[in-house]
């Protein structure tokens, strides 16, 4: 598995990095830490880059090095990095420019995973997209921004599965899986089951309908999901609520939940102008959100159809 954690600003969310490291350690995944520095006008970009190279020659710490060094300290403190007999880091290569379009520092984790510290400049969503275009990441961790528009753009435009970490919800202990009868919902469930098993975290399944007559059908569906969880030895429980998903999540979710959803089925253009359910929920609920975007064919469909 490959995880990407994206940080921005000089004072970044250490909690986001800690959570990503914790996940990467338990999933034994490769971890890339991407720091996106503020954009520099193209008129002076080259000159600034040259000046920074000059500073590096003189061993003077630049702001981006400072940020990445503090992230490195977190990884070291959490024993995520491989050390040699002398207690030195196991480095593949030092800070190098132009590695897949970014400055990169590459070293190894305690279980031999690849750990990359990457630095890019510019607009944050654009850079996450560039990063995910070059390497396939299974999960992208982003700290939830106060800016609604940025949250909206991240959730809509980042093509990988995205976890948005809320400030007061940095230690999720269980998944709150929102399900409905759709392919994307099944993909989200399949992804959740896979990582919940590795992370040993329970799953709470939430299904909603606006029509009371459909409650029984939804109950059957959530039972099937629970049976699949049981097969994978994941503790699970379920809720079926009448009403909108937004309200139901607000009632059920706590800061200890990680709310998992599939992508919105609304047309991209409508989403762009009017937002989507995941965006609204991420704004209103005090819990971190995992938006599963990759469709995993019909793996779970087969499992759900098979009798327990």
């Amino acid at each position: 598995m490959k995880l990407l954690v994206c940080i921005g600003g000089e004072v970044f969310s250490t909690a986001t990095v800690r959570l990503a490291v914790e996940f990467a350690a338990r999933l034994q995944a490769d971890l890339s830490i991407l720091y996106v520095g503020s954009p520099i006008t193209q008129f002076h970009q080259k000159e600034v880059q040259l000046a920074k190279e000059k500073l590096a020659q003189w061993m003077i710490e630049t702001p981006e090095m400072k940020v990445l060094n503090s992230a490195l300290d977190i990884l070291r403190e959490m024993n995520f990095l491989k050390l040699d007999n002398q207690g030195q880091l196991n480095i593949r290569h030092g800070f190098k420019p132009e590695i897949s379009g970014a400055f990169e520092f590459h070293l190894y984790g305690s279980l031999g995973q690849n750990v990359r510290f990457r630095y890019r400049e510019g607009e944050i969503v654009d850079n996450i997209r560039k990063e995910t275009e070059q390497v396939h990441y299974d999960l992208v961790f982003v700290g939830a921004s106060q800016k609604r528009r940025l949250v909206h753009r991240i959730l809509q435009f980042v093509p990988s599965n995205t976890m948005m970490i809320k400030k007061g919800a940095t230690h999720p202990e269980k998944f709150l899986l929102c399900v409905k009868r759709s392919k994307s919902s099944r993909s989200a469930a399949w992804f959740t089951i896979q990582i919940a098993q590795l992370l040993s975290m329970p799953i709470e399944i939430l299904a909603t309908t606006r029509f009371p007559a459909k409650v029984a059908r939804l109950k059957v569906m959530t039972d099937r999901y629970m049976k699949v969880c049981e097969r994978y030895q994941i503790p699970s429980s379920s809720y079926v609520r009448v009403g909108g998903l937004e309200d139901a999540v607000m009632q059920v979710a706590t800061p200890l939940h990680l709310v998992v959803m599939g992508p919105s089925r609304v047309n991209e253009l409508m989403q762009y102008f009017f937002g989507s359910l995941p965006v609204k929920i991420s704004q209103k609920v005090n819990a971190s959100i995992l938006l599963v975007k990759e469709e995993r064919k019909e793996e779970l469909k087969n499992l759900l159809q098979r009798p327990a």
Binding site: T41, Q45, L50, Q57, P159, E268
Partner: protein
């Protein structure tokens, strides 16, 4: 698919806005006195300004779009258009960027700090004055980005050595760093090689007027102003930051030890300095005959022959995108002149000034300076000179003012609008160190701009008319 499309459209929304503006201007009735081609050219200028400010596409793309639109509107024939893209001034800009790349490549900076400290002594105010002076003088020949790249590590090493001794960040550090930003950003007008805007203005004088300006002639105009401005810049920096008078004696001792450990200047370092001096001498003595581009290329060729500079260095260190943008901007400026847009704008400005009775003297100079500063805040100094140069030359013809004086005012005031970290390369480089705050740029910038602006008005009124 639709998601990617939406994202790409959102990224380039200002490009679409630019095209829409071009179409709207096209559709508007042509004002009296303006030719149809002039109106089309103004639409291109407006389009270019939008793209300069918002940067929705890479900068070379803006240059190519300017050329494409000029060709589509038939402002010039394809042959004339191609010719307008390359000129002596562009060759000069390319050669100065290459020469600066060669100087940055040599590690002359630590020695420079040592010599500077030997000269100024350990008193911190004297060191700051030394930094302002060295930055200003180097910038006037090498350009601001090269100078800032050389001087920034020098200053940061001094700060670092001081911090190691006192275990706290020195309070003089912002003043020292601003001495570099201001010394570089406000002094590029000293010689034609100090910045692309100077070369662009020289190109306009040559192409669009009868003025012939040599390298030495420029220095005659600009250097006295630079020298008068120097101590004032120092006082502006000094008064903007409070710090205790201290000395950097111990860092000097540490530095002396470091410099002694380093290798002595080698043949390549001496050759670099020699070729640079030779090139400047040729510019000073023969630019009237040889122009500015060819002597610059001679210097670059010598550096390549002596193995000081290889193509990889040039590729890595020269911002070719900006060079292309300058070419496109100059071509646009020429288009503004020949399409009649400059005539119309010049006449409009003349009428406006005539109504208030100020077609000569300080008020005219003040107006040009103000417009130049406003435009350079939007599109950068070179862009402002490229756009306003032809208009100012036309204005000088209509009001029978000296085109050299108006051109010099344009160039110097365009470089005086440094209020934000992004306003000039030197300011951005210093800001990139992470040791200065963005709001300090305004705090220091307004004083500097006022000084620079005031001095230009005084020189334009009392000194330059005597030349």
């Amino acid at each position: 698919m639709l998601r990617t499309l939406l994202f790409e459209i959102e990224k380039r929304i200002w490009l679409l806005v630019g095209f829409v503006c071009v179409l709207i201007i096209q559709w508007l009735p042509t004002p009296a006195g303006l030719t149809f081609q002039g109106k089309q050219m103004l639409a291109i200028v407006f389009f270019a300004i939008i793209l300069y400010v918002t940067e929705p596409i890479p900068l070379p793309g803006v240059a190519t779009l300017i050329v494409v639109l000029q060709a589509l509107y038939r402002i010039e024939t394809p042959q004339e258009l191609a010719r307008s893209l390359m000129s002596d001034s562009l060759l000069f800009i390319i050669s100065t960027l290459m020469l600066a790349a060669a100087v940055i490549k040599q590690n002359l900076d630590q020695r420079m700090l040592w010599f500077l400290l030997n000269f100024t002594g350990p008193n911190i105010s004297a060191v700051i004055l030394g930094f302002v002076t060295v930055c200003a003088l180097l910038t006037s020949f090498l350009g601001e980005s090269a100078t800032a790249s050389i001087m920034l590590p020098v200053a940061l090493v001094l700060v670092q050595l001081f911090s190691e001794r006192s275990r706290e960040a020195p309070r003089f550090s912002p003043a020292l760093l601003f001495s570099i930003a201001c010394g570089c950003a406000f002094s590029g007008f000293g010689t034609p090689s100090g910045g692309a805007r100077n070369a662009i203005m020289m190109d306009y004088w040559q192409r669009l007027s009868t003025v012939r300006m040599s390298y030495l002639h420029w220095i005659q105009y600009a250097y006295p102003l630079l020298l008068v401005q120097l101590p004032l810049l120092y006082f502006a920096v000094r008064s903007s930051f409070r710090y205790q008078e201290t000395d950097v004696f111990e860092p000097m001792v540490l530095l002396r030890r470091k410099v002694r450990e380093m290798e002595r200047l080698n043949a390549r370092d001496y050759l670099t300095i020699g070729v640079l001096i030779l090139t400047i001498l040729i510019w000073m003595t023969s630019s009237a005959t040889w122009g500015l581009g060819i002597p610059g290329i001679v210097g670059v060729s010598l550096m390549m022959i002596f193995g000081i500079l290889d193509w990889e260095d040039v590729n890595h260190r020269v911002n070719w995108g900006v060079v292309m943008l300058y070419a496109g901007s100059v071509s646009m400026g020429v288009g503004v002149y020949i399409s009649g847009a400059a005539d119309w704008l010049g006449a409009w400005l003349t009428n406006f000034l005539a109504r208030t009775g100020f077609t000569h003297g300080t008020v005219l100079h003040f107006c040009i300076g103000l417009i130049a500063m406003a435009m350079s805040s939007l599109v950068g100094t070179a862009g402002a000179v490229a756009i306003l140069g032809p208009v100012v030359l036309r204005l000088s013809a209509l009001t029978q003012n000296n085109p050299i004086i108006l051109g010099m005012i344009l160039v110097i005031t365009a470089a005086a609008a440094n209020f934000t970290p992004m306003s000039s390369p030197a300011c951005t480089i210093v800001y990139g160190s992470g040791r200065v705050r963005a709001r300090d740029y305004l705090r220091v910038g307004w004083k500097m701009s006022l000084i620079s602006f005031g001095l230009v008005l005084v020189f334009a009124r009392y000194i330059w008319p005597r030349f």
